[in-house]
């Protein structure tokens, strides 16, 4: 009976690990690209151009001149768009393929690597600052703004942690990345679940207007509110379960529900609301990444176990 040599085993494990890692990085890039397109769609390309919470905070709470606040707001949105282009570019050039250390060492790849690193940092900071500004400005449930959009500013952070990890193998950075993402997804679902339990008006409207526009089931508000109560509790339970377990069914639920709620912006308000759907890509995309990370860690665990078995033999 032919036995696999230790070198072969490590090579196979590395290959599987590397592919999984690539999927994680690509997924994250795609999510952030879409998110950046959503930001540009909402703040730059919309016929009825809008301003972010950062603008409103600077203008109304800090008394910054409208021109300065507008300039900063537009600059933020344009830089997010530029960041999105950087991620899209890197998606095709794959500077982190196989060996992240190598990517950091090669001249132009090294430049792209740092561009991506800076771009991810900017998107994370911009999204976080927006949530912080929302919190500071007040408004209904504004105190929950950071938790509500946690997954949006966390995906770029996770990307930074993953592409910045020094070792081919799992290390503290990647473990931290998984935990950061898990907590962010949970926070996002818990806040949305809480708002659903509180029968948040706009959530009711998403269902009722989607019904009016598309499904025409003539839903009544009390029925919608009952559904929201159920959905809200389910969201919270799933979010908590996500922290302590790794059941695929939880990830599948969160992925599908994240997708449905993102898409509901368009079903309720029409195609013109596409930026509202696209900007929420991380709500479901983050779950995809997390599930892939689980797989990544299990591949790594199995490959390590195989290697140890072979070496023991």
């Amino acid at each position: 009976m032919e036995t696999e040599s230790p070198a072969n085993s490590i090579s196979t494990g590395d290959s599987r690990w590397s592919k999984t890692r690539q999927i994680v990085v690509r997924c994250l890039r795609l999510i952030i690209v879409l998110q950046c397109i959503g930001i540009a769609g909402r703040y730059l390309w919309n016929d009825l151009e809008s301003e972010s919470h950062i603008f409103e905070y600077l203008r109304f709470e800090r008394g910054v001149s409208e021109n300065a606040a507008q300039w900063l707001d537009d600059a933020g949105a344009y830089l997010c768009l530029v960041a999105g282009i950087v991620f899209a570019f890197n998606m095709f050039l794959r500077p982190t393929s196989d060996n992240p250390n190598r990517a950091r060492q090669q001249g132009w790849r090294k430049a792209l690597y740092w561009c991506e690193f800076v771009a991810a940092g900017f998107v994370a900071v911009w999204c976080f600052a927006n949530a912080l500004a929302h919190m500071a400005r007040g408004g209904i449930y504004s105190e929950l703004a950071i938790g509500e959009v946690a997954v949006r500013f966390t995906c770029p952070i996770v990307l930074m942690l993953v592409i910045g990890s020094q070792s081919k193998r799992t290390n503290m950075a990647t473990i931290m990345a998984r935990w950061v993402l898990t907590i962010a997804i949970s926070a996002t679902f818990i806040v949305h679940g809480f708002k659903a339990i509180q029968l948040h008006g706009p959530f009711c409207d998403l269902i009722l207007l989607s019904d009016t526009q598309i499904f025409q089931l003539d839903l009544a508000q009390p029925s919608v509110e009952t559904a929201l109560l159920f959905i809200g509790w389910l969201d919270i339970l799933m979010a908590i379960a996500l922290i302590f377990t790794r059941y695929k069914i939880i990830a599948i639920y969160m992925l599908l529900w994240g997708l449905v709620t993102s898409a509901s912006r368009m079903t309720a308000f029409g195609w013109v609301a596409w930026p509202e759907t696209v900007i929420r890509t991380a709500n479901w995309g983050g779950v995809c990444v997390l599930a892939t990370m689980w797989h990544w860690e299990s591949v790594l665990f199995n490959s390590e176990a195989e290697t140890i078995d072979v070496l023991d033999d």
Partner: protein, 456 residues
């Protein structure tokens, strides 16, 4: 004495509006006269009549006086006030102004404002079975303290002409808010000082966003204090018809306006036998029960009223930002029932849209005005939006709209804080028979089936 000072000041104000200020105020002597008159005027406002400044909130001493109209204002009103410590008794004594009849006594409902780090107590005296278009003088008694005498006038129940203020967003700039309130008090006073009945301002339809954070009682306390500046020089109170804004979340709002804790903040009131004002709440579901209520409300009130006006906070046709859900939820209903005028807020701009029906300009459509400027930093509007083209407009600055309803026309005038008229237009009463026919046109059917879609 007050009149002696008011007349020359008003004359100066008039000249200020119609001539170059520099010409009037170019000589030192004219400045001396102005300063003398201004100081005299101020001393009278703040001294002898004691109006024009806020009551002190201390112990069980009553302050934060306000009158709220949320149900039939020709017969009912809620008089509210606050104290810092809970009074063992809070009473309202009232009678028809100028009469010799005995004062009626009304015990106020009391409770602690919910939430916030500050501890304050509210009192609501609910006056019922009042006479229409009648001045009621009242005084508040709180333990050993009593307020100054004040009065308010109930809404008419006949078809007399009247005016109301419409405006919102008084949340951030506290000094500006105080200046606007002082201006409102003077405008109400002036409107009743002449013999023309149509300009008599009877209430303020407030479009929401009173303060920054609805759960912050300290901010509400400041707003309630500043609201006292709307009390006129003779002690006349300006009733508020409140709307909830996106910054007014939380339970304090209902405490402030004397509403039950589960009140959803949408209602309709008749300001006369022919003027109906419908207040809606954009901060809860707009498409569910509220829409159902709106359809029933407009279906019943449209045939009975010459003028049908709606107010709410987040605009369907904004001068900045993106439309709220009102666009999908309510606009088709407004068009179906031919609402005359819609007052919107939130944008911190000044706007008037073209008449809109089916998301296009249509002479028979609905005009949307407002956007809020009662004490907030203004914003630059986006005048390139199709619905803000002439005869619509977009501008910015602290302002108030005065809506005058008469039998022949509804006039809407936007007055800025400096007295400048930013906009003025009038609408003719709808020929409802024609409108019903128009409602059945193909375009309108299409519109009802698929309302205009915009991002939320």
């Amino acid at each position: 004495m007050f009149w002696l000072t008011l007349i020359p000041l008003k004359t100066l104000f008039y000249y200020n509006q119609h001539m170059h200020t520099s010409k009037i105020l170019s000589t030192p002597s004219s400045w001396i006269v102005v300063l003398l008159l201004a100081s005299l005027n101020g001393s009278i406002l703040n001294g002898s009549s004691n109006w024009g400044k806020e009551a002190e909130l201390k112990g069980t001493q009553p302050a934060h006086f306000r009158v709220t109209w949320t149900a039939d204002p020709s017969q009912q009103a809620t008089i509210s006030w606050s104290t810092a410590k809970q009074a063992s008794k809070g009473l309202l004594r009232y009678r028809v102004k100028g009469s010799t009849e005995k004062f009626a006594t009304l015990a106020a409902e009391t409770g602690k404002y919910i939430g916030g780090e500050v501890e304050l107590y509210y009192y609501h005296a609910r006056m019922k079975d009042l006479e229409a278009s009648t001045a009621y003088e009242f005084q508040i008694f709180s333990d050993q303290h009593k307020s100054k005498p004040m009065y308010f006038v109930t809404a008419p129940n006949d078809d007399r002409p009247l005016s109301i203020f419409s405006g919102g967003d008084s949340r951030t700039d506290r000094e500006e808010r105080r200046r606007v309130n002082t201006m409102l008090a003077q405008m109400v006073h002036d409107s009743h000082a002449n013999k023309a009945p149509q300009d008599d301002i009877i209430a303020l339809a407030h479009g929401g966003d009173y303060i920054v954070k609805g759960t912050n009682l300290e901010q509400w306390a400041e707003w309630m204090s500043a609201n006292e500046l709307t009390i006129g020089p003779t002690g006349r109170m300006l009733p508020i018809i409140p709307t909830r804004g996106n910054h007014d979340g939380g339970k304090i709002y209902n405490n402030v306006f004397g509403l039950d804790s589960d009140n959803k903040n949408y209602y309709g009131v008749n300001l006369s036998s022919e003027v109906r004002l419908v207040t809606l709440n954009t901060e809860i579901s707009t498409a569910g029960s509220q829409k159902k209520w709106l359809v029933e409300e407009l279906e019943s009130s449209r045939p009975k009223n010459r003028w049908l006006i709606a107010q709410y906070h987040r605009p369907a046709y904004p001068a900045v930002k993106t439309p709220g859900t009102a666009l999908q939820s309510w606009v088709p209903t407004f068009e179906k029932y031919n609402v005359d005028l819609v007052c919107e807020n939130d944008g911190h701009t000044i706007k008037r849209t073209v008449p809109i029906r089916g998301n296009v300009k249509d002479p028979s459509g609905v005009v949307y005005i407002g956007e809020g400027g009662l004490g907030v930093p203004p914003r630059k509007p986006k005048p390139d939006r199709w619905y803000l083209q002439a005869p619509g407009l977009a501008s910015s600055g602290s302002h108030i709209f005065i809506i005058t309803c008469e039998s022949e026309k509804l006039t809407c005038k936007c007055v800025e804080l400096n007295g400048k008229i930013a906009d003025e237009f009038s609408l003719k009463p709808r020929d409802l028979k024609k409108e019903v026919l128009k409602k059945n046109t193909k375009a309108n059917k299409k519109k009802e089936a698929a309302p205009a879609a915009h991002a939320p």
